[in-house]
């Protein structure tokens, strides 16, 4: 089981190395989306400071959405997914490995770049590190929740657009507590509650999402 997890991780990372454009596209998308906001609301640094955490979070959320539909799509079309299901290893573990590597490839780079974008919005060092922490806790939840939508729409026409309709409601709590923590901190409020809820959501989704995704994949293959 543990071995299977590692092998999937290795395979996905090797694939990502061969196809770096995927990662780069997501990063550029993040950069461009968040750079659009100052053009829309004006260059006043005080305004930008207020919307900064929200913008970075929404940008990260959109990146997650953009990358998501690929998490199982190629495996579905080239037949690898069938072999995963018939491998005899617990599908939930394999699914968790797939989602984990997907986050490492498309989620983690976004988290790393986020403070740079935060700088553009005049966020202080304290806010930036808090932003980093909330993104580290929150973006895996986004990947997990999102992969439910990706698995449900496998092989369905208009899959990518449909995925976003399905999962955006589930992204709301993550966004509220993720961006909310940084805003609360700016207002001098305690953020312990926010962070513990983010951690709780992460634990809950790590435990439950693979079950939903494994079932969704089996349904898609029928």
């Amino acid at each position: 089981m543990y071995k299977a997890f590692i092998f999937i991780l290795r395979k996905e990372l090797l694939l990502a190395l061969r196809q770096k454009t995927d990662v780069v596209t997501v990063l550029f998308f993040f950069l461009i989306v968040s750079s659009l906001f100052p053009f829309a609301v004006g260059p006043d640094l005080n305004t930008l400071k207020i919307i900064g955490p929200g913008v970075v979070w929404v940008g990260a959320l959109l990146c997650s959405l953009l990358a998501l539909h690929r998490v199982f799509e190629t495996d579905f079309s080239d037949g690898s997914l069938e072999y995963l299901v018939l491998s005899g290893e617990p599908l939930t573990v394999l699914v968790l490995a797939k989602i984990g590597s997907h986050w490492l490839i498309t989620g983690l780079p976004v988290v790393i770049v986020a403070p740079l974008i935060g700088l553009q919005f005049g966020l202080s060092a304290g806010s930036l590190s808090l932003l980093l922490i909330t993104l580290l806790l929150g973006t895996p939840v986004l990947s997990l929740m999102g992969s439910i939508g990706a698995a449900l729409t496998l092989g369905v026409r208009g899959g990518a657009a449909l995925t976003s309709i399905l999962i955006l409601p589930f992204y709301v709590p993550v966004l509220i507590f993720g961006a909310g923590a940084v805003v609360a901190d700016l207002q001098g409020l305690s953020i312990e509650g926010h962070l513990s809820i983010l951690i709780a959501m992460l634990c809950l989704s790590v435990a439950l999402v693979p079950i939903a995704v494994a079932n969704a994949i089996k349904i898609a293959l029928e």
Partner: protein, 204 residues
């Protein structure tokens, strides 16, 4: 022993098969024939547990396959229409990263010599996307060399896009598997003698 009882499946209004009964014992080959769209692939996917039938059951060693699924699946070696290869990876990498998931952990040398034997020596270190359909199929079929621990082979159109030498090589592999007590179910719409003693079922 594999037993199929009263299997029925309909796609929408189109009934593919009804009341299908057959059994395959150790050392037996079972061939499913039929025209395009007659339900060969669906039947194989149901037997392997990927699809659910509308009616009927699949019984493996006197137990319901669906009930004892994780045990059953570990006895199944399924080869579908799609090769399951990652096009950015080489043939060697594909096999080396896939076989451990299927319960085989061959050494690098074993994998490479199996690919050489399949006539892929020149291309085994090239990304699969630069290969022809027949070459990809041969890479996928090389997996069979390491799947003897899974006794029930379910192969969907294994002969597609293979040339004459590859076909005879595959026939040898299949015969070896059966002779060592394995079970084989396969589909083909080409009409040549694969495993002479194979039982046969036509879905037409």
């Amino acid at each position: 022993m594999l037993e199929i009882q009263n299997l029925g499946f309909a796609r929408g209004k189109n009934v593919l098969f009804e009341n299908l009964n057959f059994s395959v014992k150790a050392g037996e080959a079972f061939r499913v024939t039929g025209s395009n769209g007659s339900g060969k692939t669906t039947l194989l996917r149901i037997v392997s547990g990927l699809c659910r039938p509308d009616n009927g059951v699949v019984i493996w060693d006197r137990d319901l396959a669906r009930k004892n699924n994780s045990e059953f699946v570990k006895s199944v070696n399924f080869l579908g229409h799609d090769d399951g290869l990652k096009k950015q990876l080489t043939a060697t990498e594909n096999l080396k990263l896939m076989l451990p998931l299927l319960g085989a952990s061959p050494s690098d040398r074993d994998v490479e010599s199996a690919l050489d034997a399949a006539g892929l020596e020149a291309v085994k270190h090239k990304p699969v996307m630069h290969m022809s359909a027949g070459q990809k199929r041969r890479v996928a079929l090389t997996r069979l060399d390491f799947m003897n621990h899974r006794v029930l082979w379910i192969l969907d159109e294994p002969f597609t896009s293979l040339d004459v030498t590859a076909i005879s090589g595959l026939v040898l592999k299949l015969r070896k598997h059966i002779d060592s007590g394995g079970l084989l179910i396969f589909t083909t719409h080409q009409d040549f003698d694969v495993v002479s003693e194979a039982l046969s079922l036509s879905l037409d």
